[in-house]
Subunit: 488 residues, 3 copies
């Protein structure tokens, strides 16, 4: 066809053949996972057939007290966010839906295995047996860890090869586990929904990588940028599943009881508020008040990001609304003003605008968390409530809320540093000319890494014109009809 | 492009510029929400850090007895129905998918905040503190309340501006909270899944608004009516998520234990039965037995609507099948015979056919509820079961099932009156020429309120024809290719 | 239009008018369901208003101990897999999305009613009352039973009429209930996620039917085979919901407590592993390492199928990874090598490649189950854990794990025999020339059974060319523009 001819003639400046590298990476890494799982990973006591003895030992009378039943619904919501939410949110480009949803699928599937190991080594390695015992909460945490890398994918969407994405995920998960350990365990900061640990880290990690991989001639693939009508509709599937299940995300690993309950209420309200201000700013930004799908698809989610830290705190319902209110404004303005600035001045090309959806709202979330922690009081929380919410037990039983606020702020700085420095280093690795990334003209084009549907052996036997060269005249028709297709 | 030229020349009869009104309404109303939430809304005892004391006081031994765990999975299913279900069900129009899913998103996000306040004032205002205490059940009820307004949106889809939709939602939620209070609290009618409170009210509310906003020249936008292949496929996403999660809708706020269990079984069965009769009537209605996607997308859901009242009753499994059986027939016949009649004779233009999917089945559901309540007996329910199911306690402890049946019927009349009268009044408000609604020629067209993907700065630098005027000859090609696109 | 003209001229070799048969089958069968439900089906004790007495009798203190709360989230996930998962997975064909998702909807809705009866008669008919008592677990089992028939639909997708599909489902559910009774009750094999009972049976049932219905001239509809860009994206919705919720599928009816917990972990890990090896083999199979959407859509799920039997066993996390590893390889190679072989040599036309996704991985799952059962030991499971996992109670309390392994293997043979023999017989019934199946030229075309969107009364009044005959010249343009549409 004309398109593939065009491709053969002009676009083979770079070798995008990944027939060697991709299978080798997939096979070797998967075999490594199997070996490491064999050495380290075991069922925890609630997912082990020996639970019948554990129950007797702990005076648990019923199988329905297994923690499985109180985490699994949230886990499945998070799981949907990771695979359908992130995957479909990125399908908005007119010809990169396969890459969006398919590579998201690939790197999440690898990342969650590696996350179980990395998080296990840092958080739950049993010193006696040298084993990592996993249960439903480990699966949620692995999905969370993967989220950081999928956020980073948003910045480089369409400009990297699947092999680069796998490398990015390998290092991203590793960095994530370390910064998470520092922030949650050493600093003892609270971050249930990961404003800092997931969104701030993931956002700056992706932006730093994109900065290193800057492509000055990316305008050569401008024809492939932007969306078409149905690709925007597909992206709304991702947006909505992220939006609806975000209360589950922010509450999935908070304390049972009032903690989870409150995190859901806060996130639900914050997100609702964000939608209205996003619509308002989007409408204000256009001559006749028309809305921009980019804003609706992305900025409506900023409130959920910004409540990632404080959702479990007693910020009260109107507090959640206020956070959502400002995040909708800031995130949408980010798409209008900051993204162009980042690209022109700082040379950061951010395909999905993760700076506006994750990095900035994540930082806001960290600040909100630090302030609300520092402002927490026994009169609002109750004596025991304060201890429970901030886990002022063990080594931290004498910590004051003011100190806690300071450590929250410190946690945010750690996540930014890990994102920026880690991303810059990983970006340099990804700049090596061995990963099969596409040429500037071929960015945002699924044809580079995917068999095209129309090539897959389907002949149209009743159409004698099909295999003949097209005349200049019919080329004109084709050009026009393609134009109309773009409108479509 | 040709389309926008066409628009510039002919279609600017009405001012659809909402750059002032939409942001102002969004900002002012959201700020009002924040203030009212600050004054009135607080966490309830199960989502408050003081729950640790409440537990001790009530001899609750475990965090897992928090009601959160027994409502949250149903809540999330309902949440998906509101945003993905209703949103995508309305994407069937060939060029109104953005408006369908985007405006649905906007009005639901506003409506749920306003519903928490309105329902709180009417149902759960604490007389001592003057506060409304919210928990997971409040969130479900807010989503329910919003559903009534989204149903009404279906009648006016494509013919109103987002500002009108917000106004419609403001009044819709208000009316809803009042009629709900009358029906559930004063009349003490049972309506777990809202056949009356949600579907009958929402249906007639939307139809009355559409009747007031009648457009005699709507045929001028006939080119935009109807669907294309992929828009119909998108709509099936909405249909299926509504259909699958309807058991959660009808059971989300019923009594714990056997009540929720039974509501799920009845709804599951009723919906399955509806699918078969919908297919049968749809096939009968066409010359060669072909099926019509409009019927499959909508009428298959009628059984769930009609079981909204009786789902928690002991109507027995075959009773649920019978209700579904007739609703599939009636709803599909509604699309074939009643909708054209409503439009021609009663001047009601009902874009999505909500009369067939919500209003009629809702009334049937109310009648089924009244009859089955009146026919309830101690031999079937058991003495305590009867009291539990109909909540014959407190002021109502001497009510008989016959009386209950009468009050159920009275409740249905209240919902119809509130829908028709309320809708007529709100429709008159929406008729004011200040809301930026589209001209008749521009109805069902996303271009009026949405930036079009192909306009968003994407140039095709390698295509010299792109910016030149098209010749009459290539116009012909374009016309034909567009025709083929419609086929597509 | 040109297409319908084409259809009128060439394609009416077969009578595809189902205006009589389809409504008659739907009505008669649905009425039969109502009657049979009236005679046989009742609420079980947990969904009955008498539960208040049952509770008192059994010293159950709280409504939240109703099994509803511990099965319902899994049920809803399975429900989504049945209707959205299977439905959308089959939308990949360029012009059979309506049939894929619509007929899937129809046959699942019928099948689940018939399954409640058939499974009830075989598994839970109360000998005293002659009734079948249903609860949430019955609904899950009915959905499972339907899954077998939807798998079979995948083999004949696009080549049969909806009436044939209903007949196929009627017999499929019947055969399923019998083989399930033999495997689970008589042989006492374990098969929580149905590797044998669902996937092996469903796979071979569909393949045998497709073999009997072999169409030597199917190449005449080759223009309708293959996908277009957006139909492939739609199919990914199905893939992802199947993939994400498969842990719920394999754990939905396992034992409460550690059993469900472990089944989720194993399935989650196995599926992740499958994705990497599927990508590896898919990339290896193409000249420049490009990925094939067919593999990503299907083979990524093979690990879940293969863990259907062993998911609840102590196969340990790395064991699950190993099973997923090999299934990704085998399933993808099946699409590359075995499917063409089956079609050319064995004359089995398998539209969706169910041999690679269900039949083969199902058999692998059966073998894995037999081996891991035979290798189970008290040292790994614990004495009581072994008894619980394999249900060595009652008549089977003296069974050894070795014997159990043998019975597992026997169960797999039973499922294959039922699939092949049952499919061959049902296929012969479906070969009768009375079911309205499409001619070879019309296969894979929604126009045969669905009203086409562009025909539904939409005129374009501003387009004078619309109703005139097209000239040979514009035919050329049309041909070209259609070609470009296929690219689209």
């Amino acid at each position: 066809s004309v398109q593939s001819c065009h491709q053969d003639c002009f676009c083979r400046q770079k070798n995008t053949n990944i027939r060697l590298t991709l299978p080798v990476v997939c096979f070797v890494w998967q075999i490594a996972m199997i070996i490491l799982f064999g050495v380290f990973i075991r069922y925890d006591e609630e997912s082990n057939t020996h639970w019948v003895e554990t129950k007797a030992h702990n005076n648990i009378t019923s199988d329905i007290e297994n923690d499985f039943y109180f985490r699994y619904p949230s886990f499945q919501d998070v799981h949907v966010m990771i695979f359908v939410g992130f995957g479909f949110l990125m399908t908005f480009l007119k010809r990169y839906s396969f890459g969006a949803v398919g590579f998201n699928f690939l790197i999440a599937s690898f990342g969650l295995q590696w996350a179980l190991l990395m998080q296990g080594w840092f958080h739950s390695l049993d010193p006696q047996t040298g084993k990592i015992f996993i249960g439903i909460e480990s699966l949620i945490n692995a999905d969370f860890c993967v989220a950081g890398c999928l956020i980073a994918y948003g910045a480089v969407l369409g400009k990297v090869s699947p092999v680069q994405l796998l490398v990015m995920t390998l290092f991203g998960v590793t960095l994530f586990a370390v910064e998470e350990y520092i922030i949650l365990n050493l600093l003892h900061a609270r971050d249930a929904g990961g404003s800092m640990v997931i969104h701030t880290f993931g956002g700056y990690y992706g932006l730093a990588i994109s900065w290193v991989l800057y492509r000055p001639n990316l305008h050569q693939s401008k024809r492939m940028q932007g969306s078409v009508y149905h690709s925007d509709t597909f992206a709304m599937i991702g947006t909505l599943f992220l939006w609806m299940f975000w209360p589950s995300f922010n509450s999935a690993i908070t304390d049972h009881g009032d903690g989870q309950h409150r995190a859901v209420i806060n996130t639900y309200l914050g997100l609702a508020s964000t939608v209205l201000t996003t619509v308002a700013i989007s409408s204000l930004s256009q001559k006749t008040g028309k809305l921009d799908m980019v804003h609706i698809q992305n900025s409506t989610l900023a409130g959920g990001v910004a409540l990632g830290t404080a959702a479990e705190f007693m910020i009260s319902p109107y507090g959640a609304l206020i956070v959502g209110f400002f995040c909708g404004i800031i995130s949408t303005m980010g798409y209008i003003f900051i993204s162009p600035f980042l690209e022109k001045t700082l040379k950061i090309q951010d395909t999905c605008g993760i700076h506006n959806l994750h990095a900035m709202p994540g930082v806001i979330g960290g600040i909100v968390g630090a302030i609300t922690a520092a402002a927490a009081s026994e009169s609002v929380y109750g004596k025991q409530g304060l201890i429970n919410t901030f886990d002022f037990t063990g080594d931290f039983k004498d910590r004051t809320v003011l100190t806690q606020g300071g450590y929250q702020a410190a946690g945010m700085c750690v996540s930014i540093v890990f994102g920026v420095v880690g991303g810059a280093i990983v970006g340099s690795i990804l700049k090596l000319p061995i990963w099969g990334d596409p040429a500037d003209e071929n960015c945002f084009d699924d044809e580079v890494y995917w068999e095209h549907p129309s090539h897959s052996g389907v002949q149209q036997p009743h159409d004698p014109q099909a295999s003949r060269p097209v005349s200049p005249f019919s080329m004109l028709c084709l050009t026009i009809s393609q134009k109309s297709l773009v409108i479509c």
